[in-house]
Symmetry: C2
Subunit: 340 residues, 2 copies
């Protein structure tokens, strides 16, 4: 039911994902049965592969996370996450309210790592492909242990989602020497360099290394990561706007832009980040699709969830955290953890 | 003597600055007398307006700040800053080694604010003009008091350099509500909102507001600011590179790019930040020109120094810091301060 368009987008996206993922993948669709059936009827690929779990309740896109926690039980979002907890689904995908999805996922699935909230991840376009950047906003206060957890989560995600056997991991800093940066980042650097986590650790990277694709995974606290991501989005938007003005400023430049139209469209496509982000650090797979996701975008989000569910992702994280003594609780013993 | 080209650029830049600033401005040129005289001979506008202070000693561009402090005495950089201390010059301008300039300036002029090092400032191109962003790398650990000091320094600089009577000031955060962000940024927000510093405080801004020019001055800690600045530079470079590939990918797009050449050059010019940055928080005016500065760039740096020296800049800062009880020492009583 989530996102700007609801079943009109999410159900055709299921169809696209069904074709991509092959016949052994089945779906639970949570939401209004009539709306979902109307869309399903038009998609042959989904015949017999979708089970509808009816509910009329929804989490509104502007609902506060705390309200969603109090009143969200039985909503389509809640039920989708609960199906993961109950083992009925291998992963949940939603294009709905991000804050609510994080809060509900944390409450139902619990954290496998010692974080305030599930870690938000960005897939950052680079000259070489995509770099996984985390945390981009969920955990604002980060000590060295948290930064190391992000490294473990991001590395396992990058392998599962991009098929890179040994992703390289870098720690975002203001310089490359050991003495640079604040205490938290220097201490995380020391732990990662010592190699206990078993990662392919590169060392410090700087802001301009993000777009260079110097490493596969860039680790930073949620404050810095959020500022870097939004700054990059702002710069990209600014440059596109300036470019548009420049290319419509005179007749020759308009003609030029017309001739170069195809190349300029390809250029814009190249800069668009993927519209799916996993919520990392939970005991279970939850993927957030962009609110304005198109059919292709939402199918990509479903693909990410399937890639994570099919991989050894959760066990790898558990092992790496365990090696460093960082796991808050093993995945089978959540009872002792505090609630929301 | 500083920068990639030395007197070949700095002396013609003095000529350009002399024409811009009018006849009441005179210059002290520190460095090798023969090199300087050879350049001076070619510039009529400088006749009788430049006093050469000969020294053969220079700070190398790759010299560590600590080495520059130990061995830099009597170098052209050292003498330029010392002239400010002695009241012989109203400001110092250098295109040399940034770290050395910061360390030497701190030692000779002392800090007026409670900072590790002089604050580094970026002039950020926006849809409306330029936003002053600080700190972009000098003071990595920042409590609320420091963030407030940056606000005071940045506001006074922006007024002096851009002639804006009441610059608006924003605090960089991961959201706009009072509860967002970490403790330091929330506390600084509280102090600034209460208005004791007398600034035109806007509130929190986010990464994408930087290029939107939402406020005149954006305040952040040196860690986040450095990452944001380098991220923005990386994104701009990445997009330029992708655009170049797109526009040379086929014959039509090449023709298009040729037709739009003038517009694309204007576009690139529009994105270039000014090549001068003040070192803020010192008892005196010091401006850093980019190492690769052209004649026009270095003349711009001289202009910034002149604007600051002619303004009420230092007194304004002193008053604002004093109002909040933040001034480490008044400007006339430096003896009690610790050394480097």
């Amino acid at each position: 039911m989530g996102g700007d368009h609801g079943p009109e987008v999410t159900i055709p996206a299921l169809g696209l994902a069904a074709r991509r993922l092959g016949p052994d993948v089945r779906f639970l669709a949570h939401g209004e049965v009539q709306l979902i059936e109307a869309e399903l009827a038009q998609i042959r690929d989904l015949a017999g592969r979708v089970e509808i779990r009816h509910t009329e309740k929804q989490v509104a896109s502007d609902e506060k996370p705390a309200t969603a926690l109090r009143r969200g039980k039985g909503s389509s979002m809640w039920n989708a996450v609960e199906a993961v907890k109950l083992g009925e689904a291998a992963g949940a995908v939603s294009a709905g309210n991000t804050g609510a999805l994080m809060a509900i996922s944390k409450l139902i699935l619990r954290m496998s790592a010692d974080l305030d909230r599930p870690c938000l991840t960005a897939s950052w376009p680079t000259v070489r492909g995509f770099t996984t950047v985390l945390d981009v906003g969920a955990n604002v206060d980060c000590d060295a242990a948290r930064l190391v957890e992000f490294a473990i989560l991001g590395e396992a995600f990058h392998r599962a989602a991009h098929g890179v056997e040994r992703p390289t991991v870098g720690l975002l800093n203001v310089g490359s020497e050991d003495i640079k940066g604040h205490e938290e980042v220097r201490e995380a650097h020391r732990i990662l360099r010592e190699g206990g986590a078993g990662l392919n650790y590169y060392g410090f990277v700087e802001g301009d290394d993000l777009t260079q694709g110097v490493v596969d995974v860039v680790v930073t606290d949620g404050f810095t990561g959020n500022v870097a991501l939004k700054t990059a989005e702002g710069v990209a938007k600014f440059i596109s706007g300036e470019l548009r003005s420049a290319l419509t400023s005179s007749l020759p430049s308009k003609l030029g832009a017309l001739l170069a139209r195809k190349a300029l469209l390809a250029f814009r496509e190249r800069l668009s980040p993927p519209a799916a982000a996993p919520l990392l650090g939970l005991n279970g797979v939850v993927v957030k699709g962009h609110g304005g996701a198109t059919v292709r975008d939402f199918a990509d989000a479903i693909q990410v969830a399937a890639d994570l569910a099919r991989s050894d992702f959760a066990a790898e994280i558990s092992r790496s955290l365990g090696r460093l003594g960082l796991a808050a609780q093993p995945m089978t013993a959540e009872a002792g953890q505090g609630g929301e």
